[in-house]
C-alpha cells in the first residue's frame, strides 16, 4: 500500500489504483479512523499494559459505573452498603439538558460512591463501584 500524508493526521492511501482517504483522531487510548464520513475505532494494544489489573469488568465481580460523557451529577440514588439489582438506577447525570440514569449492570452491594450531587464530572469518570454477591 502506498501512503501519502496529505494533512496533519490525514493520509491518502493507494492500493494499486484504489484510493482511500483516511482521517485519524485520537480518542483516549483509541484511534478513530474516518473514511468518507464513516468512523472506525482502532485499538492499538501495548502488551506492557497486560499486567493482570484488568479492573472494571464484570469478570472480577466488580462493576464500576462511569460517566459516558461530561455532565453534572443531579442525584445519587445509592449509598455505600446498599443492595442493588441489575438495572437499578444508581446515579443521575445531566448533560445538555438531558438527564441520564446510570444503572447497575449486576446484582450486588455498593462498595464505593465517588459521585457527589451537584458536582461536574468528566467523561469516563468513576461514579460508583458495585461488588457482585459472592457465589
Amino acid at each position: 500500500m502506498n501512503e501519502a500524508k496529505v494533512e496533519s493526521m490525514v493520509w491518502s492511501l493507494l492500493d494499486g489504483h484504489r484510493q482511500l482517504e483516511a482521517r485519524v483522531d485520537r480518542e483516549g487510548e483509541d484511534y478513530v479512523v474516518a473514511f468518507r464520513g464513516r468512523k472506525l475505532r482502532v485499538q492499538l494494544e501495548d502488551p506492557r499494559a497486560w499486567n493482570g489489573s484488568g479492573a472494571g469488568k464484570q469478570s472480577s465481580g466488580i462493576a464500576k459505573i462511569t460517566t459516558p460523557m461530561p455532565g453534572k451529577v443531579v442525584r445519587v440514588l445509592v449509598e455505600v452498603g446498599a443492595e442493588v439489582k441489575a438495572g437499578d438506577g444508581v446515579v443521575v447525570v445531566e448533560a445538555m439538558k438531558m438527564q441520564n440514569e446510570m444503572k447497575s449492570p449486576i446484582d450486588g452491594i455498593v462498595k464505593q460512591v465517588a459521585a457527589v450531587e451537584g458536582a461536574t464530572v468528566n467523561g469516563n469518570q468513576m461514579l460508583v463501584v458495585i461488588e457482585a454477591h459472592a457465589g
Partner: protein
C-alpha cells in the same frame, strides 16, 4: 433601517443573523455566557457583551442582563433567534416597554399563540381547520363517547393543561374509552393538578407540513411555500425538506394551506416571520397544530427554494419597511433538504457528546450550504442544545438533493466528538425514504430495519495502517473495534 442589533442567542443561529447584518452593513452585538467567550458567534460579531454564568438561566434567559447589554452598547433592536427567549411573550413585552425593537411578532401575538387552547380557539375563529374534537374540558366519559362517535375512532384524550405526552391516551374502540378517560384524568390530576381532559380525533400516520409566512406592519402578509418535517425523533425534527413531496403530488393544497396559515396569523395580529404547523392525513385533510412565533431552525430550506432571505426580511420588517414581495412573486425552484448535525452518540441512545472538536473538515461544491456555529478546537459546551451545524443542500429534484447530501456528508469530518453524520448516511440511503413515503412515525419504523454499514477489508487494513502511522512507536498488537462488532485481526 435598524441602527445596531443585539442577538440574544448563541451558536449557528447567532452566526446566521450576524451574517445578514454584515451584508446589510448593520453593526452586530453578540452576547455570551462564561463558557462561550471563545464561541464562533462572538468572534464574528462587531461587539460582544458577557452576560453571566454557563447555565442558560444565568445568561441567555436573563431578560434583565440582555436589556442592560443592549442599553450599554446602544443597540436599538434585539433578534432573539430560536429557543431561549424567542417565544417568551414577557420578553417581547419588556422590549416594547423599554423602547427596543423586538425582531419578531408583537408580544400580544406570542401570548395568544403560546397556549394550546387559545391557539386552537384562534385558529377556529380564523377558519383554519383544527383536529375535530372539543376545545373545552369533558365532564364525563359519556360526553367523550358522544364526541368520539361523531368524529370517528381512533381518538386521543389530552390533558387540557398538559404537555410532554402526560395525560394522553389513544383510544381505538368505544369499549376502551371509559377506562382511558379515567386514566387520562387521574394522570392529568397527578401531573398538572388539573384533571381536565379534552378529546380530539387521532390522525393516523400524519405528515408534519408547515407553512412559512412573512407579514409587515402595513397589513401585507404572504406565505412562502411549505416545508415537510415528518422525520422526527421524540417530536424533534431531524431532516427537513422543501417542497413537501406530498404537496407536490397534491398541488392544490399549497395555496389552501398557505391561505389558512395567513388567516390564523392575521387573526393573531401577527407580523414578521412565523410558521404555521399542520398535521396532514393521507387524504390531504390538514389540521392546525401550532404556530411558531419565531424564525425556525429549518428556515434555510425555504430560502433555498424561494431565493428569499428570511432573516433580511425580518430585519427590514422590524425597521418598519414595507414587504415589497407580493404573493405572486413567490415561486419555488428545485428541492432543498437539511440535516441537523448534532454532537450526539447516535449509536448509544443519542446521548449528547460534548467535548473538543479536534479536527474539522467541511463539504463544499455545488448546492451546499453550511450554517455552522463551530470551528476546529472549539469545545462544545454541555450546557446547551448540541446542534453544531446545519447542512443544507439544494438540487433540481428530490433524488438529486438526497445524493448531494450523501456526497456532502461523506466530505464532512468532525473529529473528537460523536456526531449523527453516519445516522444520516444510513437514513438517506433507505429506499422508503427515497420513495418519500413519510409520516411522523417514520423514524421509529426505520430504526427496526436500519442497515448496518460494513467496512471493506481494505478499509480495515488501512485503518490499522494509519493508526500505526499516527502513533510513533510500532504497535505490538492490533485489533479493530468497529461499532457493530469486534474483529481481532491478528
Amino acid at each position: 433601517m435598524l441602527r445596531k442589533v443585539l442577538i440574544a442567542n448563541r451558536g449557528e443561529i447567532a452566526v446566521r443573523v450576524i451574517r445578514a447584518l454584515r451584508e446589510m452593513n448593520i453593526p452586530s452585538v453578540a452576547v455570551f455566557s462564561d463558557v462561550d467567550r471563545h464561541a464562533l458567534h462572538v468572534r464574528m460579531a462587531d461587539e460582544a457583551v458577557g452576560i453571566g454564568g454557563a447555565a442558560s438561566a444565568d445568561s441567555y434567559l436573563r431578560m434583565d442582563k440582555i436589556i442592560d447589554a443592549a442599553r450599554k452598547v446602544g443597540a436599538d433592536s434585539i433578534h432573539p433567534g430560536y429557543g431561549f427567549l424567542s417565544e417568551n411573550a414577557a420578553f417581547a413585552a419588556l422590549c416594547e416597554k423599554e423602547g427596543l425593537i423586538f425582531i419578531g411578532p408583537p408580544s400580544s401575538a406570542i401570548e395568544q399563540l403560546g397556549s394550546k387552547t387559545s391557539a386552537r380557539q384562534l385558529a377556529k375563529r380564523a377558519g383554519t381547520p383544527i383536529p375535530p374534537g372539543t376545545e373545552e374540558a369533558l365532564n364525563n366519559a359519556n360526553e367523550a363517547k358522544a364526541i368520539a362517535r361523531e368524529v370517528g375512532y381512533p381518538v386521543i384524550l389530552k390533558a387540557a393543561s398538559g404537555g410532554g405526552g402526560k395525560g394522553m391516551r389513544r383510544v381505538e374502540r368505544e369499549e376502551d374509552l371509559e377506562a382511558a378517560f379515567r386514566d387520562a384524568s387521574s394522570e392529568a390530576e397527578r401531573s398538572f393538578r388539573d384533571s381536565a381532559v379534552y378529546i380530539e380525533k387521532f390522525i393516523v400516520r400524519p405528515r408534519h407540513i408547515e407553512i412559512q409566512i412573512l407579514g409587515d406592519h402595513h397589513g401585507n402578509m404572504i406565505y412562502l411555500g411549505e416545508r415537510e418535517c415528518s422525520i422526527q425523533r421524540r417530536h424533534q425534527k431531524v431532516v427537513e425538506e422543501a417542497p413537501s413531496p406530498f404537496i407536490v403530488n397534491h398541488p392544490e393544497l399549497r395555496a389552501k394551506m398557505g391561505e389558512a396559515a395567513v388567516a390564523a396569523a392575521k387573526e393573531a395580529g401577527y407580523t414578521n416571520a412565523g410558521t404555521c404547523e399542520f398535521l396532514v392525513d393521507i387524504h390531504g385533510n390538514f389540521y392546525f397544530l401550532e404556530m411558531n412565533t419565531r424564525l425556525q431552525v429549518e428556515h434555510p430550506v425555504t430560502e433555498s427554494i424561494t431565493s428569499i432571505d428570511l432573516v433580511k426580511w425580518q430585519l427590514r420588517i422590524a425597521a418598519g419597511e414595507k414587504l415589497t414581495l407580493k404573493q405572486e412573486d413567490i415561486s419555488i425552484r428545485g428541492w432543498s433538504m437539511e440535516c441537523r448535525l448534532y454532537a450526539e452518540d447516535a449509536d448509544n441512545g443519542f446521548l449528547p457528546s460534548p467535548g473538543e472538536i479536534t479536527s474539522l473538515s467541511l463539504p463544499g461544491g455545488p448546492g451546499v450550504r453550511l450554517d455552522s456555529g463551530v470551528y476546529p478546537g472549539w469545545k462544545v459546551p454541555l450546557e446547551y442544545d448540541p446542534l453544531l451545524i446545519k447542512l443544507v443542500a439544494w438540487a433540481e429534484t428530490r433524488e438529486d438533493v438526497v445524493h448531494r447530501l450523501i456526497r456532502a456528508l461523506e466530505e464532512t469530518h468532525i473529529g473528537g466528538i460523536r456526531t449523527n453524520v453516519e445516522f444520516f448516511l444510513d437514513l438517506l440511503a433507505d429506499t422508503e425514504f427515497l420513495a418519500a413515503d413519510l409520516h411522523t412515525g417514520f423514524l421509529d419504523e426505520w430504526f427496526t430495519r436500519r442497515k448496518k454499514h460494513e467496512f471493506t477489508p481494505a478499509e480495515i487494513e488501512a485503518a490499522k495502517r494509519v493508526s500505526a502511522l499516527a502513533r510513533r512507536p510500532k504497535p505490538q498488537q492490533v485489533h479493530v473495534k468497529s461499532k457493530w462488532k469486534e474483529l481481532p485481526l491478528r
